[in-house]
Symmetry: C2
Subunit: 205 residues, 2 copies
Amino acid sequence: MNTESRTPIDFYFDFSSPYSYIANEWIDALAARHGRVVRRRAILLGVTFQAAELKSPVSYPIKRDYALRDFARSARFEGLPYLMPSTFPIPTQNAARVFWWLQETQGAEAAAAWTRSAFRAFFTRDIVLSDPAALRALLAESGVDAEAAEAAWSDPVWKDRLKQANEQAIAAGVFGAPFFVIDGEPFWGNDRKLQMERWLGQGPY
Amino acid sequence: MNTESRTPIDFYFDFSSPYSYIANEWIDALAARHGRVVRRRAILLGVTFQAAELKSPVSYPIKRDYALRDFARSARFEGLPYLMPSTFPIPTQNAARVFWWLQETQGAEAAAAWTRSAFRAFFTRDIVLSDPAALRALLAESGVDAEAAEAAWSDPVWKDRLKQANEQAIAAGVFGAPFFVIDGEPFWGNDRKLQMERWLGQGPY
């Protein structure tokens, strides 16, 4: 199918979001089934939470217990491995800046490969992406030049690029992750997969 | 299938919750497919929100726009009619007290019939359940003795019964609606339908 003639699916995510990890594993196949490509957009959920006056589900004690259980169950439901990170949530600006650096210097495939690698490392191997040494080791293991990546995450150019991405997300109405936009229609959450599939298959309903 | 030998599915809901309206339409068939019965528990979401320090999604301006869109889309996804109530959210203590009065004086089927009738009235016909006159008319139309129902919703006995239900819900970890418990496993949200179906079919995963 010609994937160029249709608009991409925008996929907003934060590297510290369990539901984003899960969605990242199914979104490409879903898009491909409907002749679409995925346009990934790494953001910082904390920034969109602040703009929308929201907080993480795990910051509410009663909701937290449920959320931790649901993260793991939702991963298993999709047939995915899951290990609750021992440090959670974590600041993800360095991983996200690396994403934008790869996206804009090496292209969408390199950025998507890094996304997969970083999500799997954090949510199945307890690799703390906010720790510079752990991040460098993961980058090297993932076939990315770790030294160049570290230079990128310290560079105002890529700091600004991430800031722009956060601002664009807020302007687009994003207040959580994963957040998808298909032809202007917003879908929030890993649990909107079936609604997205129907939208892609039959159009607006 | 013998439905007596298996524990019921607990279904907590508030009459002002759109996702609870949707779930109320599919939960009986889901339960029946797996030889279960549904144990409905009308509660006041405001009370559980307060206990969990949460608020309604529509109380956050940015989330509100998405939520209103998602309510309607989620209903259409299930093939259900939906009309956003002109007054929303509403206090639902009277409708909920009628539920408990019916449940304990006439049984689960009468209470389930009232639940269906009240949800459909509010979410497809803009009948404001918090308005006593509208509520009386709906009760009469639904085959319930409206005078007796009004006496019940003003009676300390049924006020207390609802209060107990709220307290039991909080003790069970309920912080939103619809909220389901299957053999001790909690499921929050209309969008957990498939996870529940799998849990019922194959057991814990």
